[in-house]
């Protein structure tokens, strides 16, 4: 049968944002793919060069609407490295709590978006119902629902409001029951497993070479988590484990990538609880925050989607000379011809959904 190119996107339910996936098919089988980006390019790096360091946190919030705290945090951490700012311990604890609540919200957003990809509309409603709980929690200290601008250079905007711990604890214990509910609904569902098992396989060494990091790599059984391996804030002092899954020896499929995120949510719950237990009293903002910076610095953090890295060069003025953003999804999407090849067209939503795409950060 003759091969032909099919264009999926930029407005296709599978794409989760604006991008085009051109697939070359032979009958129903994919033989090649060519992803195209750029529909959402807002030139964040160029805009950042014209704004002062502290102004850029509004831009980093908008890198990814599903996970804005983690991106702002990465930027703030890099700037602090550049300016040698010491952050008070309480602020570090608050940051960790906010990061983990954001990770929960982001993973729930992903899971909710993944289910309709597989034709399971009810799944979206279950996950997004619970995501709303965590968005409410993030709203309490920051005042907004999606774009928080809560983590600032030198600390956080303000201390946690009264009763935040009790509210969080109530939601976390409810959420733990919900996680067991998901196990019955999805993991033990034969249809869900038929759609995801043995689909979209790649090995650990392939993944590292292709630039796939984060939950997608941990789904191959690699115990790599930047919260441990390039530790920041207070992840060292908190009691938690890196969760890994594998579909077989050293490779992942859609199901293992789903499961590793569910495991991570359980770990996030543990981290938040432990943070509240160990959190000291004290200031939440550094007393000395410079405006100008020179030199260069970078920090890596574990974003909800993988390795996030921001590289900053300062020339002594109050604006960055060069600001480079590494998005984990940028390289993961670039590698999609490798892990799509050989599967059927109907598997594309299952595979591309399982890697958790966010086009906002990818297109910058």
């Amino acid at each position: 049968m003759a091969e032909m190119w099919i264009s999926m996107g930029p407005q296709h339910p599978m794409t989760h944002g604006l991008w085009t996936l051109k697939v070359k098919v032979d009958g129903e089988t994919i033989t090649d793919a060519d992803p195209e980006l750029g529909y959402l390019h807002r030139s964040v790096e160029k805009m950042g060069e014209r704004r002062k360091y502290f102004m850029n946190t509004t831009l980093t919030d908008r890198l990814c609407y599903a996970s804005s705290t983690t991106w702002t945090h990465n930027y703030v951490l890099s700037v602090e490295e550049l300016m040698n700012v010491e952050v008070p311990t309480r602020a570090q604890y608050i940051r960790t709590i906010m990061l983990e609540i954001q990770r929960l919200a982001s993973h729930l957003m992903w899971a909710g978006a993944y289910m309709p990809d597989l034709g399971h509309i009810t799944g979206a409603l279950y996950f997004w119902r619970d995501r709303e709980l965590f968005l409410n929690l993030l709203e309490l200290p920051s005042g907004s629902r999606l774009l928080y601008n809560y983590i600032r250079i030198g600390g956080v905007k303000r201390d946690l409001p009264d009763g935040f711990e009790q509210k969080t604890e109530r939601i976390l214990s409810l959420f733990e029951q919900r996680l067991d509910e998901y196990a019955d609904l999805f993991e033990n569902s034969k249809i869900f497993r038929m759609r995801t098992e043995d689909v979209g396989k790649f090995t650990a060494s392939q993944a590292m070479n292709m630039g796939i990091t984060g939950p997608n790599l941990r789904g191959c059984g690699v115990k790599h988590d930047l919260r441990v391996e390039d530790t920041y804030e207070i992840y060292e002092e908190v009691d938690w484990n890196v969760s890994t899954r594998e579909a077989g020896p050293g490779y992942s499929d859609c199901f293992s990538r789903y499961m590793v995120r569910i495991d991570e949510m359980r770990e996030s719950v543990k981290i938040i609880r432990d943070c509240f237990k160990k959190m000291p009293k004290g200031p939440t903002m550094s007393s000395r925050v410079p405006v100008r910076a020179s030199g260069e610095a970078f920090r890596r953090t574990e974003d909800s989607r993988g390795e996030a890295l921001m590289y900053l060069v300062g020339d002594g003025s109050d604006r960055p000379y060069r600001w480079k953003i590494k998005s984990p999804m940028f390289t993961t999407i670039s590698a999609c011809p490798h892990y799509l090849k050989g599967y059927k067209v109907a598997d594309i939503p299952a595979i591309m959904g399982s890697i958790d795409i966010c086009i906002g950060e990818t297109d910058k």
């Binding site: 750029g38 790096e45 590292m208 630039g211 690699v222 590289y311 060069v313 590494k326 940028f330």
Partner: protein
């Protein structure tokens, strides 16, 4: 392999200069453009840097600078007794007249789009890249907007 051994090896290598430690687990070096390809092959094949985190292009008027961030994800490269993952930061200077360097996308597939992005936004040419097209900006866009001498003009196009 140990992180200290790696530092010794790097010091002895051709084209490497100004070795320093950024943090406990990050080495920073300067590299000659002409020996870059051999160096990267060695880093990947022998020194366990199986992941290319980022390629940044900087316009240091007049010249360009490329910064490679390589990292070890498998834990084969030990940093003392810690769990820290090792990283290598490589700086390469490029002449403004001919901003080109050998592509590393055949070594790390993940470098493929980073190189395309550096070409797209900064106009760096990667010799031997399989598919050096624009990635974020549309085809037919004139100029490379992250260069410091790029002049932004408002184009009014007729519909």
């Amino acid at each position: 392999m140990n992180f200290k051994e790696l530092q010794k090896q790097l010091k002895a290598m051709e084209g490497v200069s100004k070795l320093s430690l950024v943090r406990d687990n990050v080495i920073k070096i300067d590299l000659e453009r002409s020996t870059s390809k051999d160096f990267f092959i060695k880093m990947k094949e022998e020194c366990y840097f199986e992941h290319c985190s980022l390629i940044t292009a900087i316009d240091n008027q007049p010249n360009f600078e490329l910064v490679y961030h390589l990292s070890c994800l498998s834990g084969e490269l030990k940093v003392g007794d810690t769990k820290m993952a090792a990283m290598l930061e490589v700086h390469v200077n490029l002449e403004r007249d001919s901003p080109s360097i050998d592509s590393v996308s055949d070594l790390w597939f993940g470098a493929n789009w980073h190189e395309r992005e550096a070409f797209d936004l900064m106009g760096i040419y990667f010799i031997g890249h399989p598919d050096l097209r624009r990635v974020l900006l549309p085809e037919g866009f004139a100029g490379h907007p992250l260069r410091k001498d790029y002049v932004y003009e408002i184009h009014e196009e007729e519909w």
